[in-house]
Amino acid sequence: DTSLAKQKTDIKTEPSTDGFGNNNANDGRVLSASPGSGSSTGSNKQTAAVTPEDQQTLLAVLQFLKKNKLIESVEILRREAGLPENSLDPKATESAGAGSGGAAAVAEDQPDVRVVLSAYSQQGDPTLYEVYYSDLKKFIETVLDCHRAELSQVFYPLFVHMYLELVYNNHESEAKAFFEKFSGDQECYYEEDLRVLSGLTKKEHMRGNETLLDFRTSKFVLRISRDSYQLLKRHLQERQNNQIWNIIQEHLYIDIFDGMPRSKSQIDAMSGSLAGEAKREANKTKVYYGLLKEPEIELPLDDEDEEAENEEGKPKKKKPKKDSMGSKSKKQDPNAPSQNRIPLPELKDSDKLDKIMYMKEATKRIRLGSDNLPSVCFYTFLNAYQGLTAVDFTDDSSLIAGGFADSTVRVWSVTPKKLRKVKSAADLNLIDKESDDVLERIMDEKTASESKIMYGHSGPVYGISFSPDRNYLLSSSEDGTVRLWSLLTFTCLVAYKGHNYPVWDTQFSPYGYYFVSGGHDRVARLWATDHYQPLRIFSGHLADITCTRFHPNSNYVATGSSDRTIRVWDVLSGNCVRIFTGHKGPIHSLAFSPNGKFLASGATDGRVLLWDIGHGLMMGELKGHTDTIYSLRFSRDGEILASGSMDNTVRLWDVMKAFDDLETDDFTAATGHIHLQDNSQELLLGTYTTKSTPVIHLHFTRRNLLLAAGAFNP
């Protein structure tokens, strides 16, 4: 008795497929199917007035007929069904409101009919769900191999939506049976989600589950080649399998591409996220991934130091260094954003000094490569019984900070130079402000100690970040705040409130002033230290934002989420410019390469993925870790990627080789589909185990010494 409704749906949904260019086939189908629909309307009549559902349907059909100006039919139908004339409009809208639920809020162009009809179809015989699904399954198993992999992508979203519909319509036992029967067919990387689903057996449960709500309201994105899509469509229409067709129309976004169907491994590489793959156009925006021009720094200071060095008998270094610096700063990277695209703070004198220090250190940098691996220093946190949750080093590796589960933030000096506070205001009045060493004089020698503890948070500190000038420290906590601490007074300066839920990560911009934070509320926020409200809110992730990173040019922000996607956001516009899918678990670490071209991400699945930001492509997959990767870092010249994991190892990867291998075949840029080689073992340069110490932070010093940190877990 549902065929009429199905037919209606079919008609109604066709226009929306225009974009895919499938109209030719559809039109024929619609016409040929219409006679059948007429007959079933007749059979429908007898039972029509009995149940409220059927009445609802009738109302909807009436409205549909009326809208299409089929007035005679309206009259006939109404007479036959025994409906009062005036009952039509108000009741129809009412019922539409009641029937819509979470299922069909999407259709805005023809709300009433669509809503009711889809609601109707969802209340079709629940036992048939199994039939529909296994029918499709049978079909996909029999198609040509080249299409099978692509079409198999449909299984998971269909399965989930069918299950949710059953649950939503209170067919509890059918839902369980359905789940039982088909959950084993799903890809193993959906196991986590299936576990959540299996616990969910009641409509009431869905209400509070935001992740599921998102799943229902957002469209699951699939990429299917045109050939495969046609195949699927033809099949569904032949079988009148409108149940499934409906779901595909409403909850799936099928991104059709021309060309060869993808292989299973290609698909597996990209799938796994909560909402399917990224649409291709989502990654088409131009990203200015180049680095900003380094400001010219007057060299006299530098020369002085160089002269000092010359006395020690190293005259050689001077010239090449000057040259390299000069050429670097003069050349403007074509991929770089304009210098003032994002207003950046002006350099202070101390920053310039620091830059000079940086350059001097850089000349002593060890060039790393597959045959020249870095030394590793491990900073072990001992007696951290309260739980070490976050670590950060300053860029010059002089300070190390730890965030702890007991809400404290601790800072240690790694160098012999102790940490000192600024003198009190009264004492500051006494010092000679004209003296050259005034910066030294303001420090209170009595407070010198190796470490300082800062109290203020009221929950575990999950994220921590030093400002580039080493004057501030950011910490984000479970208490929903991000705090800014002064490293001169070791007190809290600001508590940035806005997230209201645990803030999982925060990071300073490489140029200071801005910082980004992300947390349980599924949005990332961009802040400036002197604003108590965020400047930008980046929303789009379907689940918690677990890690946030600034692009080296400060114009972009990358966020990793438990929805298993990575998004790159434009700081200027607040738009999402890249969506990377492929991880099979929540992403817990991100790292930009020093040249800004690449992004590396690590997740609970123990895999590191490499991304080309400019093209929006996956560049490689590094398998080896056996547990969550909590830390990633490129070496200073970008040759080597270090990854630190919960499995108590640090691994070094030859990323240059990974990038080179892939760049040789250029087809990828056009289609967006990469052929990942399984060459993790070749790329793995070394595995370094700790003694029962999970590696939660990595840092390359300016000379390319690798520092790792973690708390000893006896």
Partner: protein, 617 residues
Amino acid sequence: MADREERRFAEVSRESVRLMAEGAGVELGDDVAALLAEDVCYRLREATQSSSQFMRHAKRRKLTVEDFNRALRWSNVEAICGYGAQDALPFRSVKEGELFFVEDRDVNLVELALATNIPKGCAETMVRVNVSYLDGKGNLEPQGTVPTAVQSLSDDLLKYYQQITRAILGEDPHLMKVALLDLQSNSKIAALLPYFVYVISGVKSVSHDLEQLNRLMHMVKSLVQNPYLYLGSYVRSLVSSVMYCILEPLAASINPLNDHWTLRDYAALLLSHIFWTHGDLVSGLYHQIVLSLQKVLSDPVRPLCSHYGAVVGLHALGWKAVERVLFPHLPAYWANLQAVLDDYSVSNAQVKADGHKVYGAILVAVERLLKMKALSLSQSAEGHSGAHPGSVVGAASYRVNSPGLSPPPEPLSEAALGIASHLQVGGAGCHWEEWTPVPLPAMYCELYSFFGDSLAVRFSTGPGFGTHSPCTPSQLSNSRKEPPGPASNLDTTRKMPQLTANLNISPRQDGSPRTDPPPPTTRGAPIYLSGLSREVFPKARFTSPQTTPPAFSFLIGGRQMGQRCQGRRPFQTMFATTPPVSAVPPRTYAHKLPVIGRVGKPVRRWTCSHYSLHLPL
């Protein structure tokens, strides 16, 4: 369906729900209970899932109660209190009633509140760095082997190694000094560390040569003090070499003319130094050391010089080690030692001399134990710690103070009784009440029963401390000088007022010849005292004190040399009368200071409190 669920999740059955409802006074129908049960299961799962997020972000593998509570709190459910302990909760069942519950023992809050042995809490969180992998090549071998990075030594290093070892083990003392100094400050010798450690482990082959042993110990010292060296697991090897020198009956010690005592003292100092500076490199090092010291001490077959080593070793590890090992072991050990000391035969002379050494060492150790204990108690009780900065460990001899403040002692003859009676009387007095209840009095009594007045004198006057020569004149002069001395004296007076006062009582009560109790100004007392003790000792039967030249340059040795002959005295005269006396005081205290017993086996969280050796400090 239910079967499937059960395989995957823990399930709360409808019966449980109904029981819980009954517990809350609500009758539930079957259907309601079923619905509720299902919802409860779902909510539990939901909370568990969201709590795992907190676990992941805390970078842990273990889901804690705290994580779960956070998840509850964020979903606006009241958190569940009382399960935050780190340890696993014992889950019990009652067979008859099919009842399962988490065992929840009563906690005596009163005891807890009045407890004095407040746990120090965990050690401070700190960051320690080590180079794990050099140029990507690391030490993948098991501990103790030579790292691969080190195997190929450069010629320079090899030369350096040869020069240094030759210089240290060679004849020229000046050269040795230079070599040791360099070893102590050279930053580039990390690669040679295993070789040096190997050389040092050669102690066993040169046990006949004191000089060589000394040099090797100096080498250890230099290595330990070198700030650029990361000793890592080599600490263990170094410690075992040092322990060898402390404990073994060295071949060199056969000749009584060889001063192996100094070596043992030095090695003990070194041991404590290694332990305090590098103890954290090897887990359980302290326990191992303490255990092996204890083993030696409790082995009667071992020669006395080994026992001596064990005692000084314990002493060097700090007063807590003494308290936990030496003190409990003392009664057993005492019998042996006494037998040796009481044997006046000529053939026994040498052994007896050794026995005196041991006696002296024990005396020094327990005295410091008493003092440190008193100090720590008085500090915690009176809370005036400000006046006594400095660490408890090394600075003991300087803090345990100047003679001017020491209380006057009882007459020698009545010492034991005097103490006892005074304890009984004085115990009721306010002085003792002011003390936070400690086992100190009991300990003191027991020790007093062994050492008699020598202990009392030392404890109360402590003149030898910090002075260079422990002889009487200097004591006298010192004590004379003290009164107008610095304010620190006053502090020290306050440190031990109770003992002073109590000790004062006893002479009077006992009707001792010196009926004038020492004036409340402690000024006069020490003079009096020292005069007295001088008087007493000459009277003693013991006429030939071991006249070992007081050549010890070290603190331990020096002190004990000076006091040894005096200390022996009371032991000989008084020992017989002791047992009944010592039996009384603890009991007297037991009822007044109810906490004593508990403090005796102090810290509950280490389960086997009897094996107090296992207690980490």
